[in-house]
Symmetry: D2
Subunit: 457 residues, 4 copies
């Protein structure tokens, strides 16, 4: 029996400027558990700053629990005796990310995010996998019984690496993309059934696929099958897109009008359950043909320059906060990490979507591949829920990515450049000639070579 | 969207003297749904009587919903337009059941129930399968979209037959045996943790195995792992057995002191999650060697004479009730049928144990075999929860029964007497010589031959 | 026991101008079996003509056996009481084939054959599958125990359809492409080991993949591992290509210099075991970018005009032969059909490559998919030989085609145009925009719509 | 390319009194290969003696090749640089074997061999597995690329252990039991078809099952299906048994009249393809009820006293031979080891039965379990041939043993006495009470405890 008030959470990537704050907020709003959080980051100062912020949050009046935050200087120190491990790292710097996202543009290949699939996601994976090998080995040694929650992208390959290195690990990956789909379905209910859905989780969905290319083939609210209503909704909004406030999608680089999602429904008959920016990257260059096409589908390319700017803002904001110059407000993040932690502590059973090795929960996908479906979380256990089989045409697209991911993993582990190249050219987004693809591959590898020790680059 | 107040339930075996009443009570206590129940039984009079009883219950003041009961004279009439189908039949009469249970005694083979495995369960299966072939075909024709809940034993083979004949059927089997284990674990909590468990379902268990030979390898209450406490409990009560009131096990032929369950835990390290009467029949004749041995383990052989007496009582009680000579009391049955119906109607999500085709929820057992694990019930969907793998030694015993069940099904479908015999002699309970086994087999088949048309008997 | 001298062979597509003659020759050269061949063709006259030719061959002095050929006017008549069924049909006419091959050229998509994959192979499959449904049903009814040998392309989907419709069928597909690879390896032996290989089958290869995209990962001659020698051979000839007689590849539209095969070895490290014309179509447009690229890789686009011309020649040649105006020469065809027939009759055991449902002979590919590996042929039995697993990068490419084939089958069976389109756009050769792909798809379907009854075209 | 005349064979158990001589003879009779044989045995003197014998055989005039035999004192020395490894050891001494075979007799449990299954085979396995762990580790270190041929019983578990410890090992197990079935089928041909079969291997059989409980469901000679003839043969000889010379079965403890084999065919409809002494032990005590029953089925219990006597004879014979006092005769052993070695060297392709991890060659049995089927042997490769699925009733019996073997392996590796006991009581031959079984188990473990270091005995 774990004592609910002397918990230890290890946070790998504890200098994070965004996820870390979400966690701090959510922990502060939950009275049933407390303990300490050890923040580890290769940027130690950033961890120290977050510790300061966290401890201030704990002391706010509206905080319902008192968590103690501490920056630590080694992974071992963070992991030792931890009950939970959260991993949310930036693999490499924005320099490498800029190469991931923008180098392909020279060849006419555009990516809206560049962290999951496509040439950018692929190269990011090659760079990230060795880091996850190290983390997995460290967990094996220092916290073999801890529950491990991954937030880093590429989600599937990060989680897959953990299991490859330490098969007994108790790890899974959390992602909020499906939540947005539930929220969208709540809008459908509002529009056609004239009813306000009390909370997102009242929309029941059957989730199946892989992270960021997840699909929902059953959706209901109470005893109402929502698929026929969603169909009407798509028919109504396919051309214009849907947004709560007109034109608001232009205000944020992360926003969209769901036109990609709607178009995929028209083509495949099943709800694509991730944001348009992610979905587009799993497909051939239909939605990402060029910047004009992207605009016409009403979503955005996220430039790394934007990210750099954005980060600067968050850094200075954090500094202010750390120094206590700012008034805090504790807001629930909308993430489910803390809810899941509670479930794993036996406080409250939860069924939600999760990235986890395929035990058969998706028929027809290889066992062991990291897939996204619902799972039942209970005291010290996560159990995937059987989700069935994807429609054939979607299955084929998903399966192609699953196989590419497995190849990417093996290429990364064995530092096999030829296998890496042969996998790279399989990316659906990459329809340039083989010669150009090879050139691009070489250039991208060179740009990230500091993170590829042992490779013949 | 199904209208929650114009539901139709078809009850196959609607003349039933016990399960039918449980359902009537549970429906009456639930305000959120209502409609009509069509009772079909080969004994039409019994169905008429139950309809009378049901309609009286509906009119009681404490009834929270108004269900209309009607006896119908054909299966088609019952099934047409039904939303749910409940099957709970007696396959054959008590004459055949007497042969199942008592003929083997001539050869020194004792059975405590005789309806699931062992020579009796096996022959009962041969007799029941053709009935289920007929029911499945009728459902396929008249109610292909209805949810089908089976209560008849042998549970696994009845459900398996439904899927063999109509693979798209939406069927599963419900059984209360695991509930008893949850209740026992609540006693463990009380004894060692000094806490009253509010409701049985607060005990979370991971269920895996096959019906009546089900196992629980994880059990928790809140954040407390109950396995170590159960171990202590077993150590304390292995010899004496456990009962709430001393000596009470002697009062009912259905009672026991859990000594078989405790002994299995000592031998196999995992909780056997069915009653001792059922568990004993899946094993070699350890607990069922002879009547004295049964007594020493503090459980009972259920004689069919007892069942006949018991039935007589229930019949006269029913007559009284039907005539309105008795005051009714509506008591919750403790069964979960109505709770599951509510979940399938989207009213309230439920996770509970169920008998369902293996989709991979139990690793290592053949796909398609009917296994018992937890499942998630939601609007119009049942999804098994991944339960893992049984310990090797238990797996071997369970797998043997699974294979025997598959052989029994094929033997019944093809009326293959040699295959039937070769399966019969695989029953662990049957350790007599091959010659005696063949004699016994012949005699038992003869006794049930009215229900085996087309067989060379 | 089958009488070896009263055999009946049914030939579906018996008016064939090429395969039929190969069979006649090979049968004539084999003294150990004889009987009759029933030729069925939708072009009855062509079958009559072939019967005449066949009967003349039988009477030649050098014929070692006396086969009687007869044209029949119904499939039933051909199939009834047959021991073997050979299927080699032209699905549709050269008009549809011209559309398959040349319509995509308008969009810059070039195909060297157009009968297996790519847009042409896909549409050909849609047209062929209903014909194979009819054939399979006819075999089920009239010749359920006969051995069925398929020669029609698309090989995998034709064979797959037979099994889908009649799962108990005893069918497999034969293709000579791998033989060429054995012959090439014999050249390797000659070049580097200075030894003449007596017969092609002395080169032992492990075959795995799918028809026309088959791979060889082990090759030996006696106790010599040939892979290292093949590597040297590729290094030597990768640029120039290899041909026995310089410049001879230009003389025939079916010839090549193996440069595609060599390039694939350089990229993937395993021998691609089909002709360059076929291999190129399974890949993205590397080798088929445009006619100039094709020339530079030293192989050809086969125009349907050429096929038409070629056919004319063969028709007039056949007429001459049928009328007895020509002297026959009986030459062994190099095909293995008759050798396999002998094996299935118990005359002589054979191990050779075959297209057959996956029973696990290729790890990681779906069970039931038609794969190409070695198999052991013996009296009345074909048993695939376990071939192992493809290297990851090749596996990914092969698997993609396997999934597309399964989708194509389902689209054809259910006449689902959307599924067909979603599969069509998955063809690696097709890198045009989605809009163009849809246009092309529509045009190609229209051109073949006479063979797509029931489709919404 | 391996030089065929500088081969090195390592013989683990090289002091063997019987198998070693078979090998020496067979090697001497084969001119196409030669080299040296390193004999390693824990009894070094026995190896020295065998080396002397081997070298004398090599110098005989009729020897077609010159092999050099050498006794070595460490396993490493034997294994280093070897091309082939042969393992044929006696696990423990005749003392332990006497306990395996005869201790159960005190409880009325009789075994005809006691080296494969049953209580004796099980305990022998527990003792042998640690030895095979050591051998596997040594091969991994010193001869990872060598081909390893196992002859030791229990065959399945020895081979399984090699793969468990060193998954990349190139190992398989050879057994001659199926050959006897082919010879018996040659007798069937003689009797009903009046034809002499030239050689045993002209009888083609489809082999499936596990070692010593192997089955043949297809058998043919040329184009003749032998199953119907075997059926007649069984009908004719079921009661009397079959022997070439009347009464000859009484002359050798290893002989039988095949009555068990025939009876199994009558019960299960498929040919049991091992000797009666082995087959009987896999079944409940039908044929092994007591010594009288054994006699009535016309086979023998092999007492260990007999083995001891027999060994003495062979030892003195060997001494004579080693001293050169005896004239040698070189006789082919009838074993296929050398034939298989030739095939693995690329000299001549062979299809024969072999014990090998299940890759899917038997449907429905767990992947990785050691099963017996045909395989194709070629240069440096063994590839199982797809054998299909056993009939349900036989499958159930075979599967039970497969699961027990897996449990036995895990019990032996983890020294888990409870798991061992729970597996022991699953042996079909053991129908005594649980109490007696536990007593027997304890006694047998004690008798072999010198070979069970680390166990709590």
């Amino acid at each position: 029996m774990t004592n609910l008030h002397t918990l230890k959470i290890a946070y790998i990537g504890g200098g994070s400027k965004s996820w870390a704050r979400s966690l701090m907020n959510d922990l502060a709003l939950e009275s049933r558990i407390s303990g300490k959080v050890a923040l580890y980051d290769i940027n130690y100062e950033a961890a120290v700053q977050n510790a300061k912020i966290g401890n201030q949050i704990s002391q706010l009046e509206e905080a319902k629990s008192n968590w103690k935050y501490e920056a630590v200087s080694t992974m071992e120190e963070a992991l030792s005796e931890s009950d939970f491990v959260i991993i949310s790292i930036l693999p490499g710097s924005f320099e490498e990310m800029a190469s991931d996202v923008h180098t392909p543009e020279k060849y006419g290949v555009y990516q809206s995010v560049g962290d999951t699939v496509g040439p950018g996601g692929f190269v990011r994976a090659l760079r990230t996998i060795p880091m996850y090998v190290e983390i997995a080995n460290s967990i094996k040694q220092h916290a073999p019984d801890a529950w491990v929650i991954n937030y880093t992208n590429p989600m599937s390959l990060c989680t897959r690496t953990l299991y490859e290195v330490f098969p007994e690990i108790k790890a899974f990956g959390c992602c909020h993309e499906v939540f947005e789909t539930q929220s969208l379905l709540a809008e459908v209910v509002k529009e056609f059934l004239n009813e306000e859905v009390a909370q997102r989780s009242d929309i029941k969905v059957n989730v199946l696929g892989i992270n960021h290319f997840t699909w929902v083939n059953q959706a209901s609210y109470q005893n109402i099958d929502l698929i026929p209503y969603y169909k009407q909704f798509v028919e109504k909004y396919a051309e214009t897109g849907f947004e709560k406030e007109e034109g608001s999608w232009k205000n944020s680089v992360f926003s969209s009008c769901q036109r990609v999602k709607f178009d995929l429904f028209k083509k495949y008959g099943v709800i694509a359950a991730a944001g348009d920016r992610h979905l587009a990257e799993f497909m051939p260059p239909i939605y990402l043909k060029d910047p004009e096409t992207v605009s016409s589908w009403k979503f955005h390319l996220t430039s790394v320059d934007f990210r750099k700017e954005n980060l600067k803002k968050r850094i200075s904001e954090n500094e202010e906060l750390a120094e206590g110059n700012h008034k805090f407000e504790i807001n629930s993040s909308g993430e489910e990490g803390v809810k899941i932690i509670l479930a794993l502590l036996g406080v409250e059973e939860v069924v939600t979507n999760v990235n986890y090795p395929n035990k058969g929960q998706i028929e027809g996908l290889p066992l062991g591949a990291i897939v996204e479906t619902n799972a039942l979380f209970r005291n010290n256990t996560v159990q995937p829920v059987f989700a069935g089989r994807l429609p054939l045409d979607i299955h084929n697209m998903v399966h192609r990515h699953v196989l590419n991911q497995e190849s990417a993993l093996q290429a990364a582990l064995t530092k096999d450049k030829q296998l890496a190249l042969n996998t790279f050219v399989n990316e659906p987004l990459l329809t340039v000639s083989r010669e150009e693809a090879e050139e691009l591959f070489d250039e991208m590898l060179k740009n990230t070579k500091d993170y590829l020790p042992g490779w013949a680059i």
